[in-house]
């Protein structure tokens, strides 16, 4: 199984600016002083040695993740703005004449998680099938409403693909696209749901837009059980711990520190920091990743937990 990240930013899409790019160029050129580049390979090797915050970017699309299992039906988690490049990549790969089925699992219906749907090109191609799985009873209303006048020029009823909504009960296994999926209620305004997916002996948990009440022992035990032995947990690490228990308490998000502690207790193999704060630039996110890895070392009592930070375009093999 592979996980491909198309949108990793929290709350609202952001774009890299000219100032950001200039800062990266300056940092790269300073690092290149006294070096000679005779071939393209020399340049590639030099770039590979720069930090990701200088040589790359975490990106700015809002939440959209693809699980790639080899099954002919596709699995997508949330439809934030990252759904636009995902849809385009699907059309480029399969062409418009080969109908595809997309299963979309929704964490919740806040704007940043549904805004990519009207720009997901496969919904405009006849013969395609999109099945939207959610634990929210008003899921269909949310999708129709964002395409109603005066918010969007193409009404939901004008979409050429077959779009179907399936409302599921949490804590119940469902079998879709060759995998087992199970939802769990999370603490977030209007409720959100984490999803655990199992396929080919691998277990992936998608737990975004979820606040973890540090003092709530029962909630902690339930989350640990949901994360138990996962190969990968994709975790909402939008805030610092101090923010999440003080000025941003009840805002519905979590921190890198809580992610490490829960994953360690649940004996998770890999933690993916996700839903990055839109105010953070690449340097800040890279710094948070380094700090999170250090906290994992400090707090480790058992097996090591690998920590990563998701970025738009990342293909993460399990």
């Amino acid at each position: 199984m592979k996980v491909r990240f198309w949108g990793t930013r929290g709350s609202i899409p952001v774009s890299i600016t000219a100032t950001d790019i200039r800062a990266k160029l300056i940092a790269a050129l300073i690092a290149s002083r006294d070096r000679a580049f005779h071939h393209r390979d020399d340049i590639e090797a030099f770039i590979d040695g720069l930090g990701f915050d200088v040589a790359g970017s975490f990106g700015g699309h809002s939440s959209c993740v693809q699980l790639i299992t080899g099954h002919p039906e596709h699995v997508i988690l949330d439809l934030g703005s990252g759904a636009r490049p995902l849809g385009q990549a699907m059309l480029d790969h399969f062409g418009p004449g080969v109908p595809q089925t997309y299963h979309v699992f929704m964490s919740h219906l806040h704007w940043d998680h549904i805004m990519g749907f009207p720009f997901f090109a496969p919904v405009y191609i006849p013969g395609n099938r999109v099945v939207i799985h959610s634990c929210h009873r008003d899921v269909e209303r949310a999708f129709r409403r964002q395409q109603a006048e005066p918010s969007f020029p193409v009404r939901f009823d004008q979409l050429a693909a077959e779009v179907r909504f399936e409302v599921h009960a949490p804590d119940t296994d469902i079998n879709v696209a060759g995998m087992t999926a199970r939802a769990r209620l999370q603490q977030h305004s209007g409720d959100s749901y984490g999803w655990a997916f199992t396929a080919h002996g691998k277990r992936v948990v998608y737990a975004t837009d979820s606040e973890h009440d540090v003092g709530n022992v029962q909630q902690r035990a339930e989350v640990i059980e949901f994360f138990r032995d996962a190969d990968l947990v994709i975790f909402d690490a939008m805030y610092s711990l101090a923010e999440s228990v003080s000025v941003k308490a009840d805002w519905g998000h979590s921190s890198n520190v809580i992610g490490v502690e829960l994953c360690q207790a649940a004996k998770v193999r890999q933690l993916m920091l996700f839903h990055h704060e839109p105010a953070h630039d690449d340097t800040r996110i890279a710094g948070i990743l380094a700090e999170t890895r250090r906290y994992e070392e400090i707090s480790r009592e058992d097996q090591p937990l690998e920590v990563f930070a998701a970025y738009d375009g990342l293909v993460h093999p399990l």
Binding site: L241, A242, E243, V245, V257, I258, R294
Partner: protein, 121 residues
């Protein structure tokens, strides 16, 4: 985890500060104990009373649940118009404060003496 009260510290201006020394590991298994042991000191940390300094020189590690206890302690003392500070973090605990950004929430001093001087003005 244990808390022991040490002799009060005098600031250069002659005012005194109450000092408690915490030692051990503050995590999921000891945070409740830390909370309960801290409470009587917090209850008396009020406007007009001696400020409270928590000496962390013996703390090996503190997790999120322990930091939450400190956050609640800070809120309680603030609501009582008292004064509280933390002093003498070990290098590892100082890293935890930095990573969690609790260094931005608390007044942290290098030594109990430095804390006493700052709080007793």
């Amino acid at each position: 985890m244990q808390i022991i009260e040490s002799p009060a510290l005098s600031a250069p201006n002659g005012k005194s500060a109450r000092v408690i020394v915490v030692s051990g590991r503050i995590d999921q298994s000891t945070a409740d104990l830390f909370d309960k042991a801290l409470k009587p000191f917090l209850d008396t940390c009020r406007n007009g009373e001696a400020p409270l300094i928590i000496d962390f020189s013996g703390v090996d590690y503190i997790s999120s649940v322990g930091l939450r206890v400190l956050m609640l302690a800070s809120r309680q003392v603030k609501s009582q118009s008292g004064r509280i500070a933390i002093a003498a973090l070990t290098p590892v605990v100082a890293e935890v404060f930095q990573i969690s950004r609790f260094n931005l929430v608390f007044q942290v001093f290098a030594t109990p003496d430095a804390a006493a001087a700052a709080l007793s003005v």
